[in-house]
Structure formats: C-alpha cells, structure tokens
Amino acid sequence: MKRPRLSWVASAAAVSLLALAGCSGSGSASAASPKELTVWVMGDSSAHFDELVKPFTDSSGIKVDTVAIPWDSIDQKLTTAVASGKGPDVVQIGLSKLRVFADSGALLKLDDKTLQNYPNLAADKFLDGVAGNATAIGGNVVSVPWVSDTRVLFYRSDILSANGIAQPPATWDELRADAKILTGRGKGRYGYYIPQWDSALPVIMTWCQGGQVVGSDGMINFNTPEFQKAVDVYTGLYADKSVPTNADFDQVQGFTSGIAPMLVSGPYLASAINSAAPDLKGKWSVAPMPAGTANTSLLAGSNMGVWGSSKNVNGALKLLDFLSEPQTQLTFYKLDGQLPTVKAALADPSMTSDPLVTVYTKQLYGAKLLPLVPNWDGETGKALLDALNSIVLKGANRDSTINALFGATNSTSVS
C-alpha cells in the first residue's frame, strides 16, 4: 500500500491548526493599550482612511487599526459585537443606523463634559442639521458628525435642451411636466427615475412642500396635506409612465445612456459618472433640489461614535477631534470624495471653486435628517416604501393604503 500520504496531510493540518489558532488577528477588538485604536470604517474607504490618519499617528503615537465593514453586513457585525461585548474603539455610523446603534446601548455618551477638552468637537463647528442635539436620542448625544451626503438633481443638459427644456426644473411640478416631455422621446425612454428602495425621497418631497413628518409630540405623522401632495407627485410620475417600473434599474448606466436623463442622487454619482463615462463631460450638471415652497434636501452621511466599553476613550476622543479638523475633512474629501460636515471646511476656497460642489454645499446648509426612529430602514421607512410601491406597482387603492400607513406608523416615536 502506498505510504500514507494522508497521515502526512493530517499532521501538517494539525500543526498548522495549532499555529494558526494562536495566530489571532493582530490587535484585539478593543485595544488594550492606550497606544492603539480600532476603527470600523464602512465599505472600501478604509484604505483612504488609513492614509488620512497617518499624521494623527505621527503626532500622537497612537496606532490606528481600521477594519473595513461591508455595507450589507453592518447589522450582523453590530449584533455580534453587542452580543459579545467586544466592539471597536471608534465606529463609523451611517446616519440611517444611528438610532439602532444608540438603542443598543453600546455607544459612549458624548456630553459637554466629555467633549470640553476638544474644541473641534463643539456643536457650532458642524452643519446645523447634524450638529449637537440634532442627533440626540433620548436626550443623549452619542456621536459626532463625520462626513455628509445630500441629494441634488442630476440632469443631462444635452438631452434636456434637445427637447426644448432650457433650464432644469426648479419645482416638483415642473419636474413632472419635464419628465413627461422627455418620456415622449420614445419607447424605453423615461424622464426621471424613482429608486424603489429610496425611502428618503417621499420624505424629501414632503419637506419641499413645507411639511414635516414628525409631529410636535415627537411621533411620526404622515397624515398631513404636504405628505398628500408629495404622494401626488410620486404616484403622478408613475401614472405618467415617466419612470421605469423595474427594481433593478442601474442609476449610472441609466443616466449615462440617457434613458433616465434626470435623477435625484448624491455626490457619489458624480464620481461614478466621471469614471464610467468621461466623454460625457459638459453634457450633464447638477441643480438644487426641486422645490415646493422650499427646496429642502436630505442630510445623510455618517457620524463617528465611541464604543462604550472601549479601553482607550481618551485616544478615541483625540482621534475624533483630529477627524473634525477642517484640514482633515478637506483631505478626506480629496481622497475619498465624501463631503465634510465641518462648516469651515465647506467654506474653504478649494471647495467653493468647483461648481458642482457649490451646489452640494448650498444644499447641505438647509438639509434635514431622516427621523431618528427606532428602525427607519427596517420598519418605518420600509412601511412607507411598501405602501407607495404597492400603489404604483400593484395598483393598490391609494386612500386605503395610505390610511393603513398612517395607522402603522403614528405610534413610532423619535425619542
């Protein structure tokens, strides 16, 4: 019989197992030493983040270990971190998840006393919409602003002018009318695109009509005339057949191919368009959010929080302070394309010289957060989307569906 190759394999495996078992990831979850910090960074920004914090490490001697978390997986990571009590020191928190993080009890409270030694973290340094108590939950602030994101109107200037539209629409009613004209270009062509997963859009539309979605009692309240007007526009675009009805419509391709020459989206779309279709330069631009009585847009983005059981709270706060320096914010924008939240950075000449960025920053100043309810993505926002989508995609009765939505959401509170 052949020499037992298998026992060789088995021994090798056993040896490597022992070696590897000892080989845990370098740096445990929450750094034990005051000279280390573990930071959770979302998506593929971690390489840029590493570069960004080099000066911080040089000056403070604190080593920063970034862990990249896939966007789709943040729920799992958070759950298991909470379950085991082992989290990072600093964590990037997408604003739509802020409430979930806060409710988990895992974040450190960042009251005035804690922040008093860190001038860059003072509330008035940041955009009003997201500074200080704007993100307080249950009266507690548990994060500081990091990067911002907003929504503006993207449009194909070449296609619009070829169809007799000289200026991008300034109001939602104008947008609806323009979309209808553009849809008339032919089969398979649309005027606008409503993402079926975008729970922020109907809320933005409501704000633009001058309305709120949160009542004075702190409860969600969709039962307002402004919301009804927003629903009119939303369902109207579908009724006009100005928007595609499939769930897998690709924004970038849709815009670059001209199939959807108008979209509401964020700055990341601009960089995607530039790299996917550089020859479109000059044929497209951005404009402020169409208005109703106001042109209020969404304030999205990410904050940074400190893990409650972190063993290096001082180091974490120092890092947050560094990240809030105007220069750091500008550098990150250059590296990663995400907009600052620090007012001084937004007003910097390097930002205001870019015409696109000027539109973004103007939009940011008046932008608002989505309501900080216990679970916007999974419940309230989902209920809103399901209601609207069942009306426009399945032909459900508008009044009964909307009334059911009121009932399902009006006991959700933001505090």
């Binding site: 052949k2 495996a13 490597s16 990831g25 896939p70 997986s73 082992k86 990341y268």
Partner: protein
C-alpha cells in the same frame, strides 16, 4: 431504515482494485449526437462563468457599454492588479487558504465518526446518528447568534480557528463516510485485530487508505465550502486582517456606485483555484460516490 440496508448486488471486492466504469454499448452515431447535445448544454451552463471572466478584463467604460459585447475590446489586467496592490486581496487569499487547511482536519474527524458509526455497535449509536442527520435540517440563520456566543465563550472570536470551527463538521459528510465505510469488509478489520493492531492503527493504516475515493470526495466538497465561506469569516473576524476572499469581494460592493470590472475580477479570482482543484480530483470524486454504495 435506509441506513442499514445491505447492498445485495455488490459481490466483487471492488475496493482493492479500481473497476473500469461500465460503459453502455451505444452506437457511435448515438454518441456523437449525445456529445453534441451535452456540449451545447455545457456551453450554456458555463456561459455566466465565461461572462464573468470576460467582464473582469474590461475597462470601466466598456463595462457599462450597451449593447453589451462579450469580449473586451481593450482587455486590461488593471483590476486584478488593483485587488492585490490597493485592496488587501493577497491577505484575504492567505486567510482563505488557512481556513481551508483547518477544514481539512474536519475531514479526518468526519472520517473517524463515519467509521465509528459504520463498523462498531455501541450503546446510543442509533440515536446519535439520528442527531447527526438531524443537524442537516437546522436552518443556518438559527445557529448564527448562539454559535457566535459559544465561540466568544471559548475565546475563539477573531481567530482563524474560530472562523473554521462552526462549519468544520457536517452531518451530510458523516453520512457519506458511514455509507462508504460500511462497504469495507469486516473480515479485513478482524484480521488486523487478530494480528494485534490497535484501533487507532487500524484506522490510520487500513481504513483511511481504503477510503481514498470518499476522502477525495470530501476534500473537494470541503475545499469548495470553506473556500467560498462568507458568513463565518465575516461574523467572527473583528479584524479585517482575518477576512477571506468572499468577504473581500463583498466589500467591493459600494452602496451605489459600483465598479463591475473590479467586482468581476474578485469573483474570477475566487473561482479559478477551485476549478483547478476539481479538475485534478474529478476522477476520484465520481469513483468515491460510486464505491460508497449509492445506487
């Protein structure tokens, strides 16, 4: 029950020599037609794979081109390079290999269990085997949080061992081992015992070598499963340095502005090694299933 059914038609001691496969005498024209039909079927089946490879070589502007072209006009390896230089794929590759290596230990453990269930009679054998089978019916989502808590209690989170452990053993594979090993003639084992060999020696020196086909099967299946594993590496790794290829590929999925060529490059990187392994072990895989009495 189905497990203890004897296979009455097996009379030859097929284990000590490789049997030539039984080929039906089909006319050569019949074979030609069959071959053609299968060939077309194979092309259709493999088509998405071909698309993936082609797409990984397309520059970004071509990846959003419409109407779509199968072959890239200006093929580029830039995205593969990017995976290793900018993103940490070299690291992810090493981690994946390490997880696969640890999983191979699982193959040995399952072989042991299959042997125990097949060739020994002991108290609790039926209920234990039933439990083993029952684990096949447990939905993965159920196990995620309790398993994580167990790993945490064993201080195995953020280790490669912790990543490999939950999926180290599977009821399906234990079942296959048992099926196969029950066809090993007990006389051989008894003879070895009479010669004075200890149980461990019998296992290593007699049983395992005789089980090469099924072990080959298990190596391939385990390789595939642990190479592609996504869930446990993601959950158990606190540190990006422990991420495997699957997790790395999913990191490439930005929220909205994706880079299809880069993602396809990552995906291609994941498939090619497994394909190589399969092609090498292919012969043994079919043999292994054959001889395990699955007929």
């Amino acid at each position: 029950m189905l497990i203890t059914e004897a296979s009455p038609h097996r009379t030859d001691t097929a284990i000590t020599r490789t049997r030539p496969p039984r080929v039906r005498r089909t006319g050569s024209s019949g074979r030609l037609v069959t071959g053609a039909v299968l060939g077309i079927g194979a092309l259709i089946t493999a088509f998405p794979f071909a698309w993936m490879v082609a797409a990984s070589l397309k520059p970004r502007s071509e990846s959003v081109a419409y109407p779509p072209d199968l072959l890239p006009k200006h093929p580029t390896l830039q995205f593969f390079k990017q995976l290793f230089s900018e993103l940490d794929f070299g690291h992810y590759l090493l981690n994946t290999i390490a997880v696969v290596a640890i999983s191979m230990v699982g193959v040995v453990l399952m072989a042991m269990a299959g042997y125990g269930f097949a060739k020994f009679r002991f108290r609790g054998r039926e209920p234990l085997f039933f439990l083993v089978l029952a684990t096949m019916m447990i939905p993965v989502q159920v196990t995620m949080i309790p398993t994580y808590l167990i790993l945490n209690g064993m201080k195995l989170t953020n280790t490669l061992l912790g990543i490999a452990l939950p999926a180290l053993v599977s009821g399906f594979s234990v079942f296959l081992f048992r099926q196969f090993m029950s066809t090993i003639p007990t006389e051989l084992i008894e003879a070895a015992r009479i010669d004075g060999a200890g149980e461990a020696r019998i296992f290593w020196r007699l049983i395992l070598p005789l089980s090469k086909p099924i072990i080959a099967v298990q190596i391939v299946l385990t390789f595939i499963a642990s190479w592609n594993s996504f869930l446990w590496p993601l959950i158990v790794a606190d540190d990006e340095k422990l991420y495997t290829l699957s997790v790395g590929v999913s990191l490439l999925n930005r929220q909205l502005a994706t880079n299809p060529s880069l993602q396809m490059a990552g995906a291609t990187l994941m498939v090619v090694p497994i394909l190589v392994v399969f092609v090498i072990f292919q012969r043994f895989v079919v043999q292994g299933f054959t001889l395990s009495g699955l007929k």
